[in-house]
Amino acid sequence: MSELPIGVLDGKPNAFDTRNLFDLYYTRLCYFAHKLIGNKEASEDIVQDAFVAYWKKSADFDNELSIKSFLYLTVKNACLNVIRHEQVVKRFAESNEDSGYTEEKITENIIRSEVAGEIHSAIATLPKGCRQVLELAYFGELKNDEIAEQLQISINTVKTQKARALQLLRLKLDVGSLILVLAVTGF
């Protein structure tokens, strides 16, 4: 990660630094928007705009929950605008479908984004070696010998790194996720 930019909320805890907030919330907000509008590129634009809007008025916020609420609300409203626009465009083509944007669905998608986002950042903050091994095993579905070949390391190192990753993840995620990771990595 490159060096942190100048904190926008001077004198406040680093957690509110825009870059920190971005690292924490950007991908999960993209995921959230994508769940609502189904277009990845448009989702990213919406989330970037939300961060710009936040940054410009960052002095108005004094705790992380209010920032998080603002970001989700801004993204949600922008997505609803996209959905409404699409509805107008195809008003006569199709009947209104109940697809992903009732309040209930929105709430569900916030939960989805938050949980998946936390798990993803827990994996992302693992030390590099552990993470590489874990990602190849988990996302790449590679076996230990395949990982060893790809990373040019020994099978034993693969096993050690995997064990270390799981140990670290246990601190952060524990039980459910650990089981889930074990299931996939064949530990």
Binding site: K40, T107, E108, I110, R112, G117, H120, D174, G176, V184
Partner: protein, 308 residues
């Protein structure tokens, strides 16, 4: 609690469940939430199902975060702010007012006796010089000097093929006649509290502020119109695309002009060189650095050029 905060709360419960950190009370809340709605249970199962979750996590990895961050940063850190021109042109308005009064006002200045290097000095015991007054010393190519507030109006001298004319309102004009011969340089210097207006051979006008010096050719020739400035001058440059107008400051910084009105402030005791553009286009150069100004922008040079 609004719906959004409730969603954050439930997310925390699910994550705590995954970490095995749920308190009894929290577990009861989560169970109540799961039991209240079938969709909640479906969602919970989806989020704790490795295959489904894995697919979702892949979306996170597909996002280019650095590029996104740079876009955001670029939008927040806007490149230029418009300066308030009033402050920057205050002296010019004052000068305009003084020009009207110029004929009535006379001040006494102790000038150093004319020699090869015309240095203007105010009387040491009189530091609080009253502002204004059309005062300047013109140094000709041969080193002779003319004190302009004393000089009579009319044709003062000829420099090559150029007539130097003193107009009655504190202005000096260079009227070029025929082809440029040898390029000769003149220098005009204003004392503290003085100022002078000058029309160069190409028709460009310069309002020289107090304690400033401009060195310029009596006639322009070659590929560019180059003048050297110390202090402050407001320029209205006559358009000539084939011969760009350049102001070179005492610190080596240059302003290249493409037909325009602008102000340059470069007093040698000032830390900064400020160039303010009123209309048209100018390019400010300092070695490798250069920046194009749009109207109402100001380039401030300290160690690097920045726009205001």
């Amino acid at each position: 609690m609004n719906q959004q905060n409730e969603a954050f709360q439930q997310s925390q419960f699910i994550l705590k469940h995954l970490r095995g950190e749920l308190s009894m009370a929290e577990k009861n809340e989560l169970d109540a939430w799961l039991g209240s709605n079938d969709n909640n249970r479906i969602l919970f199962e989806e989020l704790t199902n490795e295959v489904l979750l894995k697919k979702e996590l892949q979306f996170f990895d597909s996002i280019e975060t650095e590029a996104a961050w740079q876009k955001i940063e670029a939008q927040v850190k806007e490149p230029a702010k418009i300066v308030n021109m009033k402050t920057n042109r205050r002296w010019w308005y004052a000068a305009a007012a003084v020009l009207l009064l110029g004929g009535f006002l006379t001040y006494r200045f102790a000038f150093q006796q004319p020699d090869k290097t015309p240095i203007v000095k105010t009387t040491p015991e009189k530091n609080d010089v009253a502002p204004g007054g059309n005062k300047a010393i013109l140094t000709l190519a041969d080193g002779s000097t003319i004190i302009l507030d004393n000089a009579a109006n009319g044709s003062l001298t000829e420099q090559g093929n150029t007539k130097v004319i003193k107009l009655d309102d504190g202005q000096l004009a260079y009227n070029s006649e025929g082809a440029a011969g040898e390029v000769v340089y003149n220098t005009i210097s204003t004392p503290r509290g003085g100022q002078y207006q000058l029309a160069l051979a190409d028709g460009s006008k310069v309002w020289l502020n107090a304690a400033s010096t401009l060195r310029f050719p009596a006639t322009f020739s070659g590929t560019e119109r180059k003048v050297e400035l110390t202090g402050e001058g407001y320029f209205e440059v006559a358009k000539d695309a084939d011969m760009p107008f350049k102001v070179v400051m005492n610190n080596g910084m240059e302003v290249e002009v493409l037909g325009t009105h602008f102000n340059v402030m470069s007093y040698s005791d000032d830390e900064q060189v400020k160039t303010t553009l009123v209309e048209g286009k100018v390019k400010v150069l300092n070695g490798e650095n250069n920046v194009m100004l749009r109207p109402n922008q100001q380039a401030k040079f300290t160690r690097e050029i920045s726009l205001y």
